[in-house]
Symmetry: C2
Subunit: 203 residues, 2 copies
Amino acid sequence: MKNNGVLIVLSAPSGCGKGTILSTVLEQNDNLFYSISATTRAPREGEEDGKHYHFVSKDEFMQLIDRDEVLEYTTYCDNYYGTPRKAVEEQLAKGRDVILEIEVDGAMQIKNSYPNAVFVFILPPSIAELKRRLGKRGTESEEVIEGRLKEAVNEIAMAYKYDYIIVNDELEKAINTLNCVIGGEKQTVSRMINKIDEVLDNA
Amino acid sequence: MKNNGVLIVLSAPSGCGKGTILSTVLEQNDNLFYSISATTRAPREGEEDGKHYHFVSKDEFMQLIDRDEVLEYTTYCDNYYGTPRKAVEEQLAKGRDVILEIEVDGAMQIKNSYPNAVFVFILPPSIAELKRRLGKRGTESEEVIEGRLKEAVNEIAMAYKYDYIIVNDELEKAINTLNCVIGGEKQTVSRMINKIDEVLDNA
């Protein structure tokens, strides 16, 4: 029996710095594979198929669902978003760790099918600080920001169902903590049984 | 409600580098408190009371047991060894993490009374390598080394009951991994509930 990689599910409200944390952790970990979501929405400017998303038609997405080829999916603004199963399972079987960046509903779907996955929630230091960060972008109206904050509160209420909580008060610290969480998880006894067996078998 | 520290229980067969790993991790973590064992054995040359051990009489040790003032205890070569409860609980209540370095039987006693403690086992890369390391010291007879190896195999057979397994193949890596395990554990949701509550209560 060989060791599979670890499946990490990362969620965070908008404005929590998830993108920066994720891209840095990916740069620092050669063994970590980022799972690209499939979506039926149209590509935005600068977005590449197979890099930012797998852009598919609605018919294609329906087929993915019918064939049980998505680990989870959700709809948002009439578009479908989901995690293709094949790439994730192939990488895990190779012993690579896989990270999914998905919202809370999708994460809970994964929890049902992959109880061994590791669920990580990135928390803002406070809602006041999140409001400040969202406002700083200067691109959204007060109304949009208030909507985002309400959504954030709903998402944070689901954080209790995650395995690990990382507060993004300092970016570098949050990055190190996520690295530690992944590193620590790889040492859990359920993932190290083969190594104990190996030492005892050769005693 | 405030957050208590994490209780870490560290075990390893003799020759696995536990002492070096532990002293380095203690130097690197100001918040980590090393719990000093009590023992009825006589101090060896260079050992200081209250630094290496709390040296107590057999009567005093019996009183500690009677008053439920040890978290665990064991006997070895007619001497008692145990973990005084008071210092551990005081430090945990202050939010400091506490590390105990104890053998497998004592660790299992702690597991019954402190199910939230974190159990870490340091594994040698192989028994052959452990034999090489024990032989390298050049101070023990072949017979003593064989006895140690048998004991190591018995201890490693208990590693399945620990939470985390760290292989000491490279010292620096093992030290970093132990730091990560402690760091990661502090982010587990059960230890972060207060922070989620705090963010939501102030929303």
